[in-house]
Symmetry: C2
Subunit: 212 residues, 2 copies
């Protein structure tokens, strides 16, 4: 049996390391977190760490591609599919994030934006992995706006640019909320985005959760 | 004369240190920059560093209060005063930043947002100093919107919330531009903000550079 504890669940070990790293990178930052800390948090051996992630950068890439991309998909992309139109989805997403932050009582920021601001200047590969997450997010929003126009729910709008504005407003609002340790910037942006989107959409053509 | 070189211009020495630190913190980040690097960049003695900034945190606070606040004032607050109304000013500010980034050929990000995202989780005093800069920025925009309403240039708008949206959109757009190393997100947000603001302002009541 000796040694089996280390090797009988390599996928589970890898997952524990990536989970611990995600938690640490979001809370304290990528640069401020050491590999030894992550090893301790994940309760894995040095050999297992070195096997799965020879360098911190490999772990950074895994966190971006697995956990950060997944957080954006769950928080933003899936609710877009579940709601009848983009404005309902965006309003619901802001409300859910505001409620979650109020419940927690502190603002640690958006995993994607935290890592992007910190790492973009240091490592081109990680920067590109982060940009791919931003692009998937923007693509999902743009597709929803296009769909709304096609369905006759929305009139004249520029899907690409509007998608960028929504993501930028959210990203900036959470940066301000983090600096203030207060959700008010997100509340303000939620209201302003709702008014701005309402001006593009036809009254009576809006819906809540998708019925089809 | 011995020793005079070190002490005959304490203000100049302090300024050289803060300039070097601002450059390094914006380009590479606060956490990634060591005090020795800054000392070398500023070409000052260890004694002078220790005299002016006993701890890195003191230097972080000086950079925020002197240089970051000043960058926001020059880039955002002064042009607001120089233009006839908020939409003209905001459009001009975005255009200037986009042109400057195109000229440089790379996006290192907004000094305020870079430091806020990196430091907010680590140090309450620095977080508060960064929030004060965000608040001064928001206060200037809000005052301009209020002034425009009072002058009859703008109709129904919520100065507080709109100021937050503009700052958030800019902050998020520059984060996206940094991840992409491309100014397109700023170009998109510039257009969308211009349309959104135009809807609040009365045609014919808009102006360019302030005439009074």
């Amino acid at each position: 049996m000796s040694g089996q504890g280390r090797t009988n669940d390599p996928e589970g070990v890898r997952r524990r390391i990536v989970d611990a790293a995600y938690e640490a990178f979001v809370q304290r930052g990528y640069l401020a977190t050491g590999m030894l800390e992550i090893r301790d948090m994940a309760a894995v051996s040095g050999g297992a760490m070195a096997h799965h992630f020879p360098a911190k950068r490999d772990l950074g890439l895994a966190v971006i591609r697995d956990r950060v991309a997944d957080a954006v998909a769950r928080t933003w992309i899936e609710p877009l599919d579940a709601c009848a139109d983009a404005p309902s989805a965006i309003d619901r997403i802001f409300a859910a994030i505001i409620n979650e932050l109020k419940r927690k009582g502190s603002v640690s920021g958006c995993p994607l934006n935290n890592m992007a601001m910190e790492i973009a200047a240091h490592d081109a590969g990680m920067r590109e992995a982060l940009d791919a997450v931003f692009l998937a997010w923007q693509q999902a929003l743009r597709a929803k706006f296009k769909h709304d126009v096609k369905q006759g729910r929305a009139g004249d709008l520029h899907p690409d640019r509007l998608a960028t504005l929504v993501i930028a407003a959210y990203s900036g609002a959470i940066a301000m909320a983090k600096a203030r340790q207060n959700v008010q910037p997100l509340i303000d942006c939620r209201s302003e985005l709702a008014s701005l989107l309402a001006a593009h959409y036809r009254p009576g053509k809006r819906g809540g959760r998708r019925a089809d």
